[in-house]
Symmetry: C2
Subunit: 329 residues, 2 copies
Amino acid sequence: MKILIIGAAGMIGRKLAERIAAEGGIGERPVDELVLVDVVEPAKPTGRVGAIRTAAVDISVPGASAPLAAERPDVIFHLAAIVSGEAEADFEKGYRINLDGTRDLFEAIRREHEASGHTPRLVFASSIAVFGAPFPDRIPDDFALTPLTSYGTQKAICELLLADYSRRGFFDGLGLRLPTICVRPGLPNKAASGFFSNILREPMVGQEAVLPVGDEVRHYFASPRAAIGFFLHAAMLDTAAVGPRRNLSLPGLSATVGDEIEALGRIVGERAVKLIRREPDAAIIRIVCGWAPDIEARRARDLGFQAEASFDEIVRAHLEDELGGTARV
Amino acid sequence: MKILIIGAAGMIGRKLAERIAAEGGIGERPVDELVLVDVVEPAKPTGRVGAIRTAAVDISVPGASAPLAAERPDVIFHLAAIVSGEAEADFEKGYRINLDGTRDLFEAIRREHEASGHTPRLVFASSIAVFGAPFPDRIPDDFALTPLTSYGTQKAICELLLADYSRRGFFDGLGLRLPTICVRPGLPNKAASGFFSNILREPMVGQEAVLPVGDEVRHYFASPRAAIGFFLHAAMLDTAAVGPRRNLSLPGLSATVGDEIEALGRIVGERAVKLIRREPDAAIIRIVCGWAPDIEARRARDLGFQAEASFDEIVRAHLEDELGGTARV
């Protein structure tokens, strides 16, 4: 198979590329060629895939996707986007990259399909930001998308396009509504959701972290490891079982900040817990109150997608994948 | 007020323009200027509005909407679209007119807003085609949009844009998901939904009509008169009561073909009923089975939108509005 990852320099894209390179395939199917692109040239992973190419491609430049589609990859992972905060701060940039860039890609695939008959699998990274409050305690699969950000709007529009292009047979698409990824590796960031990761990641290496909300705040999570599993599962899934509703709310863990902290104490110890400094921030509390506390994700579970069942698992995944198995606190 | 109707040559656009011209205003508020545009120049209605202008404008031509927005209408009715069958037959044309044309209009209004601060009310004609089977017997307001046509996809995308542009304050938008309009005036057409109107309209003037489905088929209807009422109500509605979910499933009548025929018999007589010829058509039966049988529309009802409560009312509205009160059979 030939695999294309668009957005391969981001956290999920990089891990996905590394995993495919390391395993030399997806599931049972060998990968001969891995093409990694992003707005900056992605790092080239080592592993068992013979041909790995990297390139800087900005899909928001009209026409930039055409050469990518013309290579006829068997599977296209489309993860490129600017994040929620940036799409909210810069209206035009958000629509140009998150909507027009995706639509140009879809159009390039359609034109290649009409020229050659090639019909790739396309796996698109959507987000639970497509949902907007008020919602029920547990959001069902057939709940309306009423995003409250431009980012969520752009993702929801791309989901609709993906379903229509798939129905038309231009590609065989799946949109994955990712839970909030936790523990995000790397440095603390200023995203409103950053603290969910910060309060685990920083104490595990002996650093203080700020908790701006109360312990009772509930949200919906999956680890980076689970996220990579989602993408690989979607790449090989029999879409006949999916039907026309191609966008899936993914399984995740519904848990409170208190659950996070208890898991940190159990797995790493009370020394780590003591590094969490409580500093309530009214602005962040207000934002986070509008986020989904739980999502049913029945269809995705029935289709074999899997996520963690406890924060203990999420903390252990971070320890194993990022810290060689041992906390430094 | 200055009013702009885009799509003023269509059935609803024409009736809306005629009604505003005849009444000289919307509700209590006088209209000074009525601008009517469509891809072909609309007819100029007579009435009590001093300044009525008409023009041929194709909003799918990039830049065509800018002069419309620059006139700063207080209310913009956007009804321009190609219909479901045409959008399905010509993929590119459907997206160009129904999506890109609308987005260009929204962008033109945004740029005018950023230049002058002007924030018009925008009322957009959406459709229950945003829903796709399977759905519950009665579709609730928070049900997912999973359209099964490109037309429904384009309408659903425009709804998302409308909500985001309204949230940002570029305009003050409302999207109206119109029920199937019945009785459509004019000639019988070949749309799959045409028979719902044909079997009432044709017998009322002594003509035969073909019924391709069984009497038990249930669907969701409103008269043209009710549709005009929806648009006028939306133009003047206090949107503070609507909140961020700006797209509304509208009230309508859930009824079977049998209900239609009984109303025809009661209001017009058995001579009219005898003009309905039953010719089952498997293709039409299959299409119609995927359509919404009933929609809850609780929010729209609470906001004061009103439709007919029986097919007797729908038949009477057609008799009064199109036939001077008397059937010709």
